[in-house]
């Protein structure tokens, strides 16, 4: 069959994107950009507008003028129109609706007594997903865009793999211990709870088994992986997926609101979302919705999410033994084949990207959260507006402020680090930097002296350009994937949830969400 649907809309979308990029570049949109306070996005408006617009114009012209014949070319080119449709929605939401809603929320504060945009978490991630849900359920995804919407999961998986480039061994070692512990308890605990409740409620073993994997591990892919082991029927898989999707969508909107109400930090929320939300895509959605302006929360949440996926082989083994014991005459399945055949390769891709990044090809290998320590003369020289080199070493006035308050410090290691800073006019090691960050956090000295310490900290900490580029790309891959994901959340897919599986899944899902919230709140510090 021919997949390309002849339509003028891809061409129109392309022209709109290119025209918008040109208007921004030529300064004709300056008034609107100022009104919406979106100046920080001007660069990407031009780059992405031209890039996606040009592709949409070329493919749009081809669709209008040529007669597609069935084949691989037609099949894959037919996805381009849908990708452009998603990107157009994403552009409108991120560069238009998000800042507009923030402005309205701020303006309505005196009348309502609260900022509704902030309280309801109406940022571009949430609104992007909502826009997708509205498009598919109210207007329907246009036929010419349907094939491209099915690429959204590819966008999410690519985003997860690229995320591996942002981690360092130091970060992963710290978060890894915490995530293995928390995920171990909650994954194994939820699987056990679903199996127990399912048996008490006399659910079929195949239904209980597939539901336990879906609720316990990582949602849809875990349910699919466990299905052959417990010989689940397609309707049981559909029930499980429906339950996970319904619960996941609710969590995606509720978690960020609760997280803000509790005043959670990035690590706390990331740990909670990565543990408590059932499905991978919704974990990413909630993390980005909580922190739309950065991806620190997403990084933590994905570490937890990936740790959870790594538990999949253990769960599959457990379910196989459980099922064979419960079902007399159950067909024996090749466990190794199931695990090798169903284990998500994108998780291995994440680890591969992390390994590549750890060799130091994107940033110095010791980078932490994308930033690295370098106090060499070259690294501590910046350029002023006229291009003249300027040293970032501490000046005499700065050193005077530190010397005047040096006596306030009692701890020997802090005294020694401060002494080395004063002697060398710059921080001499990562350890000294960390030690003196402790002095700043403890507010031992005055604000003026702390400002000097912060200045010294910033002078030796640098963000690698390649890592910064990865951050931008990852944010866009997730935005694309989540808007597209919204377009796949149809009422009929949610209605697949129902009956006993929904009751059991919801009970365990709520226990897991509340239990992990309590553990995170009590035991996870914001800095590890």
């Amino acid at each position: 069959m021919v997949y390309t649907r002849r339509s003028v809309w891809p061409l129109v979308i392309g022209i709109i994107m290119v025209a918008y990029a040109y208007l921004v570049q030529s300064g004709n949109m300056a008034g609107l950009i100022k009104f919406l306070n979106t100046g920080r996005y001007a660069g990407e408006m031009v780059t992405l507008g031209y890039a996606f617009g040009s592709v949409a114009v070329v493919v749009g012209l081809w669709q209008v003028l040529a007669t597609p014949r069935e084949g691989h070319g037609d099949y894959y080119l037919s996805t381009v129109a849908g990708v452009m449709f998603i990107m157009l929605v994403a552009f409108i939401v991120k560069w238009g609706l998000d800042p507009l809603m923030a402005s309205w929320g701020h303006a309505a504060r005196p009348t309502l007594g609260f900022d509704f945009a902030s309280v309801l978490n109406l940022n571009y991630v949430v609104m992007g997903i909502l826009a997708g849900i509205i498009v598919v359920n109210v207007f329907k995804v246009p036929q010419w865009a349907e094939n491209g919407v099915r690429l959204s999961r590819l966008g999410l998986k690519t985003g997860v793999i690229l995320l591996g480039a942002l981690y360092s061994f130091a970060e992963l070692a710290q978060l890894g211990k915490l995530s293995v512990l928390m995920i171990g308890v909650f994954v194994l605990g939820s699987v056990w709870l679903v199996l127990t409740i399912g048996m008490r409620r006399n659910l079929p073993n195949s239904m209980t088994g597939v539901l336990s994997s879906g609720v316990g591990v990582c949602g849809v892919s875990a349910a699919v992986a466990a299905a052959p082991v417990v010989q689940a029927k397609s309707l049981e898989i559909a029930y499980t997926i429906g339950t996970i999707l319904l619960f996941g969508v609710l969590c995606m909107f509720l978690f960020p609101i609760v997280g803000r109400a509790f005043g959670m930090g990035y690590i706390q929320f990331g740990a909670w979302a990565g543990t408590g939300i059932l499905n991978s895509a919704q974990v990413a959605g909630a993390a980005l919705a909580f922190q739309p302006g950065g991806i620190e929360t997403l990084k933590v949440a994905e570490i937890f999410n990936i740790t959870r996926v790594l538990f999949l082989p253990i769960i599959v083994l457990w379910l196989a033994v459980w099922y064979v014991k419960r079902e007399e005459g159950a067909e024996k399945v090749d466990l190794v084949q199931v695990i090798v055949g169903k284990f998500p390769i994108f998780v291995l891709g994440f680890i591969l990207m992390f390994a590549l990044s750890s060799t130091g090809i994107f940033a110095p290998a010791q980078h932490y959260q994308g930033s690295y320590f370098d106090n060499s003369e070259k690294a501590m020289t910046t350029r002023d507006k006229e291009g003249k080199p300027v040293s970032t070493l501490l000046g005499d006035k700065d050193l005077g402020a530190l010397k005047a308050e040096a006596d306030k410090i009692q701890r020997q290691d802090q005294k020694a680090a401060l002494q080395r800073l004063i002697e060398n006019k710059k921080l001499m090691s990562i350890d000294d930097d960390d030690t003196l960050r402790g002095v700043v956090n403890a507010k031992i000295m005055s604000k003026a002296a702390n400002d000097v310490l912060t200045k010294a900290h910033r002078a030796v900490r640098h963000t690698a350009k390649k890592i910064a580029m990865f951050r931008d790309l990852i944010a866009w891959f997730f935005t694309f994937g989540l808007v597209g994901l919204g377009m796949q959340i149809t009422m009929s897919s949610i209605k697949q949830a129902g009956g006993q599986p929904l009751v059991v899944g919801s009970i365990v899902g709520v226990i897991k969400a509340i239990g992990s919230l309590i553990v995170v709140w009590l035991l996870v510090a914001e800095t590890i």
């Binding site: 069959m1 997949y3 069935e70 084949g71 037609d74 099949y75 894959y76 996805t79 094939n147 099915r150 690429l151 999961r153 590819l154 998986k157 690519t158 997860v160 793999i161 690229l162 480039a165 892919s221 699919v224 055949g341 169903k342 998500p344 390769i345 994108f346 291995l348 891709g349 591969l352 990207m353 590549l356 090809i361 994107f362 350009k465 390649k466 580029m469 990865f470 790309l473 796949q488």
Partner: protein, 40 residues
């Protein structure tokens, strides 16, 4: 049976299987990483 031959993927993906989608995401990521490495 041309209708069936190209009626591929599922409601969630254009690829024949999750495994193929994973591989495509991996290939895409490696290409992007190479471009970032070379040009940034």
């Amino acid at each position: 049976m041309a209708e069936d031959k190209f009626d591929r993927g599922s409601a969630l993906t254009v690829f024949k299987s999750d495994r193929r989608e994973d591989f495509m995401a991996l290939v895409l990521s490696l290409i992007i990483a190479l471009l970032v490495y070379l040009f940034i």
